[in-house]
Amino acid sequence: MDMPRVGRCFPGVKEVEADGEQSYKGTMQVRVGPVSLNITGNMVVTGLDKDLWQASMRVEGADRRLGGGVSGEMLVNLVDLSDSETEVVVKSDISFMGKLGELGQPIIRKKADSILREFADNISRQF
Amino acid sequence: MDKTIHLKVNGQDHDLTVPAQRLLVDCLRYDLGLTGTKESCSVGVCGACTVLVNGKIVASCISLAVAADGAEITTIEGLADDRRLHPLQQSFIDHGGFQCGICTPGQIMASKSLLDENPDPTEDEIKDWMMGNLCRCTGYYKILESIVNGIAEAKGSAQ
């Protein structure tokens, strides 16, 4: 999987580069309401199943200045629907800490939904 | 980062050097020793920190001192005329308008500014104006009575 290319499909991701085998580091800018974070962190691919077209990864990142960040697991699965259609299924379990966490569940859920929707749109346009 | 500002507080000029993040309420209380102004909720809701900046009431707990540079400020200490209390101050004493007293300076500054803008308010107008000044002791009837009478008194003495 071309991680840097997939990674950049996330809205707000500025750069992604490999820093080891199956490990990448990058920066991401997220804005949730009044809080704007510059998150630096890394992503480790924890599982890759070429037959099932499935990849799982762990992400972790923090904004040092504001004190906030994210950590969690993601599972991306490609499902063949037909010769010309592939469904991208993204499952995520992400925790928000510090300033981001203080904003409250409903708003974070809405933001996460919109980030994932944009990610899926970008992926389908890119590949 | 420090900044030098000029404030005219209760008629007296002050040049002060304060950190940019200094709140007006802290500047009044700690830099100038005017502890009549109280801080309670710290988020602009309760009204305990109410002071007049250029004649208008503001919440000094969410005001930056540097943003008041050049302003004229009136606090509760500036209301009495020599040793004669302002009619509103006297009325709060006469009508039992306070118990613990924390909200009182704010109540009096807010009602003073109502008097300045609307010298003949109805009771509903008083209630509406005073909405931003909370009291946890009196239940408000005594405060309303103090303001109604204080304003009447002030009008009488102005004539």
Binding site: V35, E102, I107 | S42, V43, S63
Partner: protein, 292 residues
């Protein structure tokens, strides 16, 4: 609060230069009621604050050529009590007087209130219903954005980097029109709205049918919203109470409220219906020159 450098530019050009020089590390400060609270909570920690207070001319109110031009640095209390505005746009005073308390309205500015982008604020529904726009100025020119396109997400707006809101433009309503704003406050009188709704309706010349209508709501989504389905259902028709009731039900599909301590999403959805209806009814009742 973190420390920062406090700048007091005396011209807009100087303000643009400061914003450009400090980029992401700078925040504009107007009345400070929103920003200082965020800074106290360490939600934002800017290195530079650019105050608009010392720039002359940003706090004027002019009514000309059928439009009210309200400077971004006018305080809410100034707009609420302006005799000139009360005469031509009574809905403005009727709306701004609902914001918090007098001491906050003495500090909070028109431009700061809109830039803040909190979906629970009172002024946006009325201003959207009135068809208002904001003027955004920067070193590279000026653009005007209608308020129904200005709010993009929770506390996010269409203000680009380096832009300053300099003016609010509100077209004066036509004759035979009426407007209303209702703030639903089940908790305390100084709270933010649980739901708010505004409506402005205009009748056809000499007729009873609705020529134009705008309905907008606050606290029902991540931004203030314009209820276009409701508008579509009444436009061109006679505003009977049964039509208003039917049309208001359509607001359900246009809102997506957040759960919070003021109410669940489902509750707010129902209240949106009730208050869209009441705002429309009140707007109709406020029409000044109803034909006999």
């Amino acid at each position: 609060m973190n420390t920062f450098e406090f700048h007091t530019p005396t011209t807009l050009d100087e303000a643009y230069r400061l914003l450009e020089a400090h980029g992401d590390d700078a925040n504009i400060i107007a009345g400070g009621t929103g920003l200082v609270l965020f800074m106290k909570q360490r939600m934002v920690q800017p290195g530079h604050l650019v105050s608009l207070r010392s720039i002359p001319g940003l706090d004027s109110i002019r009514v000309e050529d059928g439009t009210a031009h309200i400077g971004a640095m006018c305080t809410m209390h100034q707009v609420e009590t302006s005799p000139q505005l009360r005469e031509v746009l009574p809905l403005l005073g009727e709306t701004y007087r609902h914001v918090a308390s007098v001491k906050i309205r003495n500090m909070a500015t028109i431009g700061g209130g809109l830039s803040h982008g909190d979906p629970n604020q009172d002024p946006p529904p009325s201003l959207i219903a009135l068809g208002a726009s904001v003027v955004l100025s920067s070193g590279s020119g000026q653009r005007t954005v209608p308020l129904d396109e200005f709010f993009t997400d929770y506390f996010e707006t269409d203000i680009h980097d380096g832009e300053i809101v300099t003016e609010l433009e509100v077209p004066l309503p036509s004759p035979s029109s009426g407007g209303a704003f209702i703030k639903f406050l089940p908790r305390t009188a100084d709270d933010y709205a649980t739901v708010s709704a505004a409506a402005v309706v205009a009748l056809e010349d000499g007729g009873r049918n609705c020529r134009d209508v705008r309905v907008a709501l606050g606290s029902v989504a991540t931004t203030p919203i314009r209820a276009r389905k409701v508008e579509g259902a009444v436009r061109g028709r006679e505003l009977t109470s049964s039509l208003i009731r039917e049309a208001s039900d359509l607001v359900q599909d246009e809102v997506d409220p957040l759960d919070d301590f003021r109410g669940s999403s489902g509750y707010k959805r129902q209240m949106a219906q009730v208050f869209a209806r009441r705002a429309l009814e009140a707007a109709v009742a406020n029409i000044s020159a109803v034909p006999a």
